[in-house]
């Protein structure tokens, strides 16, 4: 984990604004899945449209770092920007993918779910590296037990139990962040 991974979103934005190249790399790493998920899951953009939106979001983010009202609010700002650019893209390419093919209520629900996933991924980042790696490979990267076993040099028969143990740790981490919920 790089030193910038420990920074809050606001601290990271401030470092980016100061021209810190490593901070910009971390910002892209931190939010690339988020922007990608909004484009392809919430708006169901086709791959080439999603790529254009993705690059445009980060280009505008870089250009407008000085104009953010609240550095800590970079995530909702990126979500709003991605949403606007996706809508523009759907309107521009209406012959391929009509704008009305996307229900605004479905988009809102999908973005809520992406936000919830981000919260889970943030909790995941607190877990030991071994747990982060195995859960990300299995769930987010959709790798098989065999692939994970070879990549991490672990006996294939232990992968399922390790995943289960890491999920239990993740649940504890999330409930530690929301003690009222775990008691309910």
């Amino acid at each position: 984990m790089g030193m910038h991974a420990q920074l809050t979103d606001g601290q990271l934005v401030a470092r980016c604004r100061a021209g810190d190249e490593a901070a910009w790399n971390e910002l892209v790493d931190r939010f690339s899945r988020y922007v990608y998920a909004i484009a392809v899951q919430a708006f169901k953009l086709q791959e080439h449209d999603a790529e254009d939106v993705f690059q445009e979001v980060f280009a505008r983010a870089y250009e407008h770092l000085n104009k953010l009202r609240d550095d800590e609010a970079i995530r909702p700002w990126l979500a709003q920007l991605t949403r606007r650019l996706c809508i523009d893209r759907l309107r521009a390419g209406s012959h391929e993918q009509p704008e009305d093919s996307v229900d605004p209520m479905d988009v809102d629900d999908a973005i809520d779910r992406v936000d919830e996933s981000m919260a889970v991924h943030e909790a995941l980042a607190i877990l030991p590296d071994g747990c982060q790696d195995i859960l990300d490979r299995f769930f987010a990267r959709d790798e098989s037990y065999r692939t994970i076993s070879e990549a991490l040099e672990l006996p294939a028969g232990t992968i399922a139990s390790r995943i289960s143990r890491c999920l239990a740790k993740l649940k504890v981490e999330l409930e530690g962040r929301n003690p009222d919920v775990s008691a309910s």
Binding site: R33, V35, F54, Q55, R141
Partner: protein, 84 residues
């Protein structure tokens, strides 16, 4: 936030797959690309003939300047030229 079981946690983890590596790499290289785009726009502001060529065929102008002619780079050039 609700209390999660393993299945829900797995589903939420699955909902954030990594973006394609090439996209992430290009986004990380944006500061350098934007600096080059800035140089191109400055040149266009100072050289009307170059500006005409840039507007007429941005792809070639970008490639000559060793900048990937992505749609967003062309859009940035157009936007910055319009800001004049």
């Amino acid at each position: 936030m609700t209390s999660y079981d393993e299945e829900q946690l797995g589903a939420l983890l699955s909902a954030l797959p990594p973006a394609p590596e090439a996209w992430v790499k290009a986004a990380k290289e944006l500061p350098v690309a934007l600096e080059r785009l800035g140089e191109i726009v400055e040149r266009a502001k100072a050289d009307e003939d170059y500006r005409r060529r840039l507007v007429a065929d941005p792809e070639t102008a970008l490639e000559e300047a060793d900048v990937v002619a992505h749609t967003q780079n062309i859009e940035i050039i157009r936007r910055r030229l319009d800001e004049k």
